[in-house]
Structures are given as structure tokens and as C-alpha cells.
């Protein structure tokens, strides 16, 4: 299915990627090509087939309710959390002000 530039812009907006007019025009062709190609999946008879939910049979394990049980997945490490922050502010992440 061909998608038009309007749709390209809508998707780019949903995906929060700014695109120029030139990029929108280029993407129109590229994405239409790719989407047209994947559409052949519609030929497959999937009656009675369930979508795959687990690649290899496995059970979802649950964690014990213990704080900071594993330091790698626990809290209490603000320095690490903020170490790569573009705009750390007194223990917070700074972002452009949002009006709610």
C-alpha cells in the first residue's frame, strides 16, 4: 500500500522524529516500497493460527518482593542514574518547562 506524504508526516509525529519536506518526500517512496513488499503476508492463510506469544516455550518467572535485592536492578544509586543526564538539576532531570 502506498502511503502519502501526509501519512509520513503523521507517523513521524507519532514517532517524535522531526522530518524536513525533502525527507518526507524521500520517505514516501522508501516506506511505500517496503510496506508494499511486506503486504504479501496477506496471502497467507492463517485460519486458526494464534499469533506467537513466546518464541521458545518458557514460563514467566516472578521476583521476590525485596527492595534492592540485586544492586544491579535496585535503587539507591542516584549518581549512576544522573551520570549521563544532559541537564541534571539538584538531583532531578531538567527538561524544557511543560505546561499541563
Amino acid at each position: 500500500m502506498a502511503i502519502d506524504q501526509d501519512t509520513v508526516r503523521k507517523i513521524a509525529s507519532l514517532a517524535r522524529i522531526a522530518i524536513s519536506d525533502a525527507e518526507a518526500a524521500a520517505m514516501e517512496g522508501e516506506l511505500s516500497g517496503i510496506l508494499g513488499w511486506v503486504e504479501q503476508l496477506g496471502e497467507v492463510d492463517v485460519t486458526g493460527v494464534e499469533p506467537m506469544t513466546a518464541v521458545i516455550p518458557n514460563k514467566l518467572r516472578l521476583r521476590d518482593d525485596v527492595v534492592d535485592a540485586d544492586p544491579l536492578t535496585g535503587g539507591n544509586r542516584r549518581d549512576d542514574i544522573l551520570a549521563n543526564a544532559p541537564a541534571p538539576q539538584h538531583g532531578f532531570f531538567g527538561v524544557p518547562k511543560v505546561i499541563e
Binding site: 507519532l14 527492595v67 535496585g74 544509586r77 538531583g91 527538561v95 524544557p96 518547562k97 511543560v98
Partner: protein
Amino acid sequence: MSEYRIKGETGEWEVVIGLEVHAQVTSNAKLFSGAATAFGAEPNTQVSLVDAAMPGMLPVPNRECIRQAVRTGMAIEAVINKWSRFDRKNYFYADLPQGYQISQLYHPLVGEGSLTIEADEKAGIPQAKRIGIERIHVEQDAGKLMHDQHPSMSYVDLNRSGVALMEIVSRPDMRSPAEAGAYVRKLRSILRYVGSCDGNMEEGSMRADVNVSVRRPGDEFGTRTETKNVNSVRFVMAVIESEAKRQIELIESGGTVVQETRLYDPDRNETRSMRSKEDAHDYRYFPDPDLLPLELDDAFLEECRASLPELPDAKRARYIAAGISAYNADVLTAEVEAARWFDALLEAGAKPVAAANWVTSELFGALNRLGTDISKSPVSPAQAAELLGLVADGTISGTIAKQVFEKMLETGDGAADIVEREGLKQTSDTGAIEAEIAKVLAANADKVEQYKAGKEALFGFFVGQTMKAMQGKANPQVVNELLKKALA
């Protein structure tokens, strides 16, 4: 059938209300990481690499959070889905580090259930009403944004990000602000009984999204709006009133209600649209590929069920069966802490009806006066049981008991000690009582005439005078019997 109607310009309108309550799950650690959930910590100190959505991080679900949601589902007699799945809800906001929230759209953990709100004539709820609950699912809470710390920046604190939430979605069964208020209060009570959420709306551990639409009685449902993050029962009711009015005015002046998200402004007591310039949210839900389907076995479910305490409705029924009035039963079961205090009082031997009356009037009255709540009651159930026992066995009268209670509050001493120390035992000495009665009747001969002529209410006056003369220490039953005899 709710009678609540709003009068518009062109006639009467009915309000249709559905509530989505977000309740923070009581657990030590977060839903998908080991960071702590406690309220009030320094910013970003309860944040793991997983919560901060660092590259390569993965979620692993916390068993206790699942357990609490299942227990809650059982408490509302809901279907528990042994197979459920996590889905990603994709959108961009600064309080959402992953750029998606792990939630459950397609296959929630808990299916249909219900709760019952009690009749409340004064509030316009003529009889008990069952409110349907469509589902409960488990999802991540978002972080917090602060907008007043810096002139050009908002500050992001991710401590709350990843805390487990239960989203409890009601059916659109409510028809008045009062019903909605009662629903929230009852739901909160159930959550606190179960222990799955502390229901603290001021701290944000429980908040409601209020869906409101209006229609002419008998018509199809109208278009609804959603007012998000309402954090008190009072505001829930105010939102419904204000939003219903707004919609009615809009429709009656020729407009149409737009399905949209709104925010409540308590200062102005109005809702306003949150519609942003961006396109409407397309959340692109899909099953989270980092998580497998959640499968619960019978042993897990049995443990959940066995761990449930006696729930409010069952407790209420038990109290009523014991002779306690429906009104008192409602009061006593509304708050789990009060109910448990009362149960302890019963276990200590107090008689149900007298105990219920005493707790709801004397104890609650005192707690109010002292500006405290039952969890900090200066008198324990055992001490209360002692006091009530002294009344039950005739040692003291009900009137004297009030005095003793005051002394107990003041001194912390036990009832029996106080009665002993202050010589407050009541007397059943018929001779002494007869003597006083004779004096009272002699001093009020005119009233005796009126009584014998038919003014029955004066009996109480004679009782009062006799009790006064005996400094309240006369056994009221005996006084009654002897007075009757004397006035016969």
C-alpha cells in the same frame, strides 16, 4: 433506580458515570524492578537502572504486586484470569522514561466483578446498589514532574516511576455524584481491608479518572468525557456535578459533547480540556516482547484466597446478625481499623449491641474531640471491654460510665480502678431508692397529677430527678421499676 436528575433549560437530564481508579499497590519494591516504593524519599533515590530506562534494561515482574491484584479481584468477587499478558502503551512524556508504559490491555489479570454501595436515604441512594467492575489490570505508575522549581525547566523525579498500580475500571453503572462518592469510599475501604493499597488519596496512592456523560432519561448513552487524576471523594463528586452541568448547557445551546480528556481545577471548581495540538493519542498497544504471558497456578490462587481477611460486607452482615443496627454496622465497617478495633473489643467479651452503641457515640466522640483517630486511641479494646463489663454486670450505670470513661482518657487508668477509687458503684438498694423516689414525688406533686392525668412523658423527669438525688449511682432499671410501682 436512581432518582437523581439535573434540570436543564429544556427538561430533565440523567448523568451516567464510570470511574477508573488507579490504586498504588502496597509492596516493598516496584512492579518490574527492585527499587523501593516508599513515599517521600529524596528525588531519584528510589530509581533503578531499569526504572530510568537505561539502554539494555529489562523488566521482571514482582510476585507480591501480582498477588495483591489477585487478592483485590477476589475481594470484589471477580473472575481471576489464570492467563494474562502485559502490553506496551506507547507515548512520549517526560515522566515516562521508557517511552511506553507496561500495562495490560488485551488480557487483564482480573475480569468482571462488583461491589455494593449501601443505601443512604439522605444522599439520595434509596437502596443498596451493586456497581459492576469490568476489570482490574496491573500497570506501571509514571514519575513526577515539578514545574515550579525553575524559570525555564521542569524537573523530573522518577521515584514513582515503575511503582505498581492496579487500574480498577467500573462499569458505567453510577447515576449520581452521591453514588460515585459512595463507590469510591467503598472501594477504598475494600482495598484497605485487603491491604493491597493504603487508599491515601492526598498522597496520590489512589486517584480517579471520572467519566461523565449525560442523556435524557431512557435515551442511549451520550458522549463521555474523562477527567483525569481526581484525588479526593469530594472532588470526584464536584467534577461530576460541574461536568454534567457543562455538558447539559453545551447540548441545550446546540453544541455537541466532544470525547476528550479534561483536568479538574479545584480552585475554580471547573474542568478544562487537556486537548493538545498534537494528534489524538494512538498508543499502538502490542504485547510486551520482554515478558512472557503470566500464568498463575491453583496453589498461588488458593494462597491468595486463604490470605483474605473478613471483608466489609461479611463483617457488616455478622454485626447485623448479632443485633447491631444497620446504621451502626455501616459506621463500624467503613474503616478497616475501626472494624478491627471493634472486633478486638468483641473478642475481649463485650456484648455486641452495647459495644456498638458505645464505640460509635462515646469512643468516636472522644477521638473527634481529641483530634485523633482510632489507630492512636488512648483507650485499648481490652480497657473498653472492662468498662462495658462494669455496666453490663450492673456495677455502674450508663451515666456513670461516661464519667469513668472521661477519667480513663485523662489518667490512662483502668475502669475498675477508677470506680473503686472514686466510689462510683451504683446502688440497687431498693430501700434507699424508694426513699428518694418518695421525696421526689412529694416535691413534685403537681407533676404527679399531670402524669396520672396522661402526660406520660413526665416519667422521664421523675427518673432524672431520682438519679440526680442519688448522684447518678442508682441502678436505672431498679429506679424504673420502683417508680412505676410508686406511680401506679
